[in-house]
């Protein structure tokens, strides 16, 4: 690609100083940090090729309609337009999908959601492409939409996918139910008869958007061998390739992907967006094609968090011992399957939360509807359930007149507890302890908006610290403080029998007299800091200072997805294993070269790699790594797997379904202007067990970021969809995410209780804080207002009682 610029490059990092080795456990800095602060880092939307065209997508304005005809002739006549494609122009496979191939690359005969891709255009200039797309004439005949459980399953409901033959179709009661997972354990009816107190409520979670900042984008370059090179922002290069190759009619090896800079992901890049479209246009025109979504299109270009309706019932003894729990969780999967089956599995298996309950009945299901497709977002399935079961804990505590933290601690699971799935929790589960830690933290001062006396005479008011902020809506009158707690449980890694693995290639060689390591994986660095950790692992395992991170691509084996809090565990584990293998090879080489030298070589003694040397267990240097290697490069590529899991039984939900669990607890302190319904979150403290913080700075960064996304779901973030399936707020003007003024101090207490099954004892970190943050904030608002608040996000009208039934 001589004519292309702004492509991903290798990044080399040298550990700083001599005392600090830059290994695991240290807060080493990001190797890509300097490039990111100078503006040089090449994100997917920055890719550029001298000869490139710009692609554009025409999307459906209706949620459900028949396509009677598509006329592209006028678009094709516009000067500068190089290609226009519809479903009829697709060369090979016409559908794709992560688990079920039910999504058309371009719609054929029917559109199933607002924003579905219907046609694509390539032109010399992005504006030409946009104008040409607007000239494509599509004759639609609107169809009645399916939008909730009742409309999806009633007699005569239109079927989203008639003639389903996927592996879930056999066990669901209606073809518009995508997947259903029950869990049955113990005897709920008998336990109910024993219960002193029963609490039953309905809950609702709105549709959240991942709202990553770097929009969907990529550059597809047709290659001389008839294949295509795609530079792309994604979460999983190999699964993109596996979906693309059949659509392009190419063997997998001719579809080569390289990760470009990724501006956040949070689940939204698990599914394909513009990948197939750019590759198809590149192959049709023989020219590189770049597609970049704008924010409006981005809201239609990726899946969202499943909105959910949940019904929970808990029964307990008078002293607060949970006797049984029942729940029904209905997730709206929208028009296509995406990762909905896994979301159902998580919602069901984690639906009761981090509590010991012997008698359980759970039913979780996902619907096919004409709403926007929903799939992966940070904490999926577990987030929705956590909001409901934590609200239940507070409701139960109130019914029992018990402290809500004490109720939780009394029922908290611990190592050795058995989940409703029958799976034993066989690693530390410090649920009661993390609750204790957030509870014992000192409270932020009352009336924190009043400026301290040192700042000047009299008591000043800083409106920036009040609900309403710079809108200057109150100076403290009508403001009530509330405090709330929540705790959650999230699985780490891919569950339910999925063959989850990662691959790493590590090489060590001498460059300029110094032994250096090269780490090559296909891990998608989406901002989480995997590249930082890989360099740290290589330093710890190989004793080198200088580590080069190769761009992630499909020239090395799959790393699996950057999701499910799994990458440090999985690709970190693969890098560790590859380093161990390289170390063995280096030692073999050393034994051959230095057989007559230091006795440690021949005694079979343990030898370590430190500071560029090979040393005995006692620390005595036996050789410089560079002297062992000389001009030889030692390399290995290895595959790492976590322990196997098994699917949940389709009737009882029993099974060893998960690899590892992650726990976080929050305490939220809020101030509510009860007259205007405005909420200011004053502090959102978190305690989380991370097993081992490979990079404490990055670990805390994940916890604070996840916490903030949970705060967004609590009080502001929701994609509003009309009953006709149309999205009402696809912009950052109308879909609000927390700003720095909305986000409070987030003190974090990190526990490191090792999980012996995991590399270095670590525990996936990214998702757990997104679970408990939301219910903690809402609990605090309930505490301030006395309102029930059974729906998130909580909006001002829910607090003032001025909301309409339609949106409340």
């Amino acid at each position: 690609m001589a004519d292309a610029t702004r492509l991903p490059t290798t990044i080399t990092q040298v550990s700083q100083g001599t005392a600090a080795k830059g290994g695991i456990g240290e807060s080493t800095l990001r190797p890509d940090g300097t490039l990111k602060v100078t503006g040089e880092f090449a994100y997917a939307s920055d890719l550029w090729h001298e000869d490139m065209l710009w692609g554009c997508t025409l999307r459906s304005p209706y949620a459900h309609a028949e396509i009677r005809s598509v006329d592209v002739s006028e678009a094709l006549r516009i000067p500068g337009v190089r290609s226009v494609m519809t479903h009829d122009d697709l060369p090979a496979a016409t559908h794709y999908g992560l688990e079920i191939q039910d999504q058309p690359v371009l719609a054929k005969d029917r559109v199933r959601y607002h924003g579905e891709a219907v046609a694509i255009v390539a032109a010399d200039h992005p504006e030409t492409a946009r104008r040409a797309a607007a000239k494509i004439r599509v004759d639609y005949a609107e169809l009645p939409p399916v939008y909730d459980e009742e409309s999806a399953t009633r007699e005569g409901a239109p079927l989203l996918h008639p003639g389903r033959d996927d592996h879930h179709s056999g066990h669901v009661a209606h073809p518009n139910i995508l997947h259903r997972q029950p869990i049955v354990r113990g005897d709920v009816a008998a336990a109910k008869a024993e219960a002193d107190v029963v609490v039953r409520n309905d809950y609702e979670v709105g549709m959240q958007d991942q709202a990553f900042l770097g929009p969907e984008s990529g550059l597809a370059v047709p290659a001389e061998d008839g294949g295509v090179d795609l530079y792309i922002a994604t979460q999983w290069l190999h699964v993109d390739r596996d979906q693309l190759a059949p659509v392009l009619g190419l063997p997998a090896e001719k579809v080569r992907l390289t990760l470009s800079g990724v501006g956040g992901a949070f689940g939204a890049r698990e599914d394909l967006s513009m990948q197939a479209h750019a590759c198809l246009l590149a192959m049709a025109t023989g020219r590189p094609v770049k597609i970049v979504y704008n924010r409006y299109e981005s809201f239609f270009g990726h899946v969202h968090r499943h909105p959910a309706k949940l019904t929970y019932e808990h029964g307990a003894t008078r002293d607060g011992k949970l006797l049984y729990a029942k729940c029904r969780i209905v997730l709206d999967g929208g028009a296509y399957a995406s990762s909905s089956p896994a979301v159902v599995g998580n919602a069901a298996s984690l639906g009761i939360g981090p509590y010991e309950v012997d008698n359980v009945e759970v039913e979780a299901l996902a619907l096919y509807t004409n709403n926007p497709p929903c799939g992966a977002m940070r904490g999926f399935g577990a987030v929705q359930a956590c909001f409901a079961y934590e609200a239940q804990m507070d409701a139960l505590a109130e019914a029992l007149d018990m402290d809500p933290v004490e109720l939780r601690q009394r029922n908290a699971m611990s190592q050795g507890s058995v989940l409703p799935t029958g799976q034993e929790v066989d690693a530390p589960a410090p649920v009661a302890e993390i609750l204790r830690r957030v509870k014992e933290r000192p409270m932020p001062p009352q009336r924190q908006w009043e400026s301290s006396p040192s700042e000047g005479a009299g008591t000043g008011v800083d409106v920036r610290a009040l609900p309403g902020g710079l809108s200057n809506t109150t100076h403290g009158e009508g403001v009530v403080r509330g405090v709330g707690y929540a705790v959650g449980i999230k699985n780490v890694g891919f569950s339910e029998g999925f063959d989850d693995y990662s691959t790493a290639r590590v090489r060590v060689e001498v460059v300029g007299g110094e032994a250096v390591a090269l780490v090559h994986t296909a891990m998608a660095e989406v901002g989480q800091g995997g590249v930082t950790v890989h360099a740290q692992i290589a330093r710890t395992e190989l004793g080198v200072s200088r580590v080069t991170i190769h761009p992630a691509d499909t020239q090395v084996g799959s790393a699996g997805s950057t999701s499910a809090s799994r990458q440090t565990y999985m690709t970190g584990g693969a890098v560790k294993k590859a380093c161990e293998s390289v170390r063995e090879k280096v030692l073999r080489l050393g034994r051959e070269k230095f057989a007559g030298g230091h006795p440690a070589w021949t005694e079979g003694a343990e030898l370590r790699f430190e500071d560029g040397k090979i040393v005995t267990a006692g620390g005595e240097a036996v050789a410089a790594l560079a002297d062992v290697l000389e001009d030889e490069a030692v390399e290995d590529e290895v595959v790492f797997r976590h322990r196997p899991t098994e699917p949940f039984d389709l009737e009882t939900g029993q099974g060893f379904g998960h690899v590892q669990y992650s726990f976080a607890a929050h305490r939220a302190v809020v101030e509510v202007d009860v007259e205007l319904g405005l909420v200011k979150v004053v502090e959102l403290a978190c305690a989380q067990d991370v097993g081992k913080a490979l990079n404490p700075l990055a670990t805390v960064g994940q916890i604070q970021g996840g916490t903030t996304q949970g705060l967004g779901l609590a009080v502001m973030e929701e994609i509003l969809v009309d009953p006709d399936g149309k999205v009402r707020n696809p912009s950052f003007t109308d879909y609000l995410i927390p700003t720095i003024l909305d986000t409070p101090a987030i003190p974090v207490d990190v526990l490191e209780l090792a999980d012996e099954h995991a590399p270095y004892g670590l525990r996936g970190v990214g998702e757990a804080p997104t679970l408990s943050s939301t219910p903690a904030v809402v609990a605090a608002i309930r505490n301030a207002t006395g309102l029930a608040l059974r729906r998130v996000p909580v909006r001002p009208e829910h607090l003032t009682g001025t909301g309409t039934g339609a949106d409340a």
Binding site: G33, Q210, L213, P215, G264, V292, R295, V526, G701, I737
Partner: protein
């Protein structure tokens, strides 16, 4: 139309600019300066924040024609701008030449995906230029037009405190450990 303006101290000319083109498009697609980011192109996220004649603006909301004859500073020009103000650039193999604000963002862990970073850097740099020791509330106010989805903003606050403290230090005085500061509030511009 032809538009002529100064970017990071260098005179640039853009030909055949279409009337609807934004300053952001001209910078990114015509001038080879993709540092200013295209996160929303609606003036809501601040990722494309640049200085226009010294004022922080969203480049996506400025029509290319409006910058005729004017001066623009982007993230790519922050190090030069700091040098012009007499600030000491960072030394070291990895971060040579970074301005104090840029260096502080790396050191404080304020960068994750980094897509919001260029805009935040320009906004934070302007804040510290006008308010050498901003309080936390000043920082929050000044950066309230810049969305970040990864960090939860805590490390961004750390970075700005650190940059302000380092900028206020004489050269070679080392890196102070910046904490919250109740200093004078001059009201950072939004």
């Amino acid at each position: 139309m032809r538009v002529t303006f100064t970017v990071n101290g260098r005179r640039h000319e853009a030909d055949d600019v279409w009337e609807g083109e934004s300053l952001l498009y001209v910078l990114r697609e015509r001038m080879g300066l993709p540092g200013s980011k295209n996160a929303c192109e609606q003036g809501e996220c601040g990722s494309c924040t640049v200085r226009l004649d010294g004022e922080s603006v969203c480049a996506c909301l400025v029509a290319a024609g409006q910058v005729e004859g004017r001066e623009v500073v982007t993230v790519e020009g922050l190090a030069d701008l700091a040098r012009q103000r007499g600030e000491t650039p960072a030394e070291g193999a990895a971060d040579a030449g970074l301005s104090p604000v840029q260096k502080a963002f790396v050191d404080a862990g304020a960068v994750q995906c980094g897509f919001c970073t260029p805009g935040l850097l320009v906004a934070a740099d302007e804040l510290i230029e006008h308010n050498a020791s901003p309080s936390d509330a000043d920082i929050r106010e000044a950066l309230s037009g810049n969305l970040c989805r990864c960090t939860g903003y805590e490390t961004i606050l750390d970075a700005v405190r650190l940059a302000a403290a380092r900028t206020g230090q004489p050269a070679g005085a080392g890196a102070p450990d910046a904490g919250p500061d109740a200093g004078t509030s001059q009201g950072g511009a939004i």
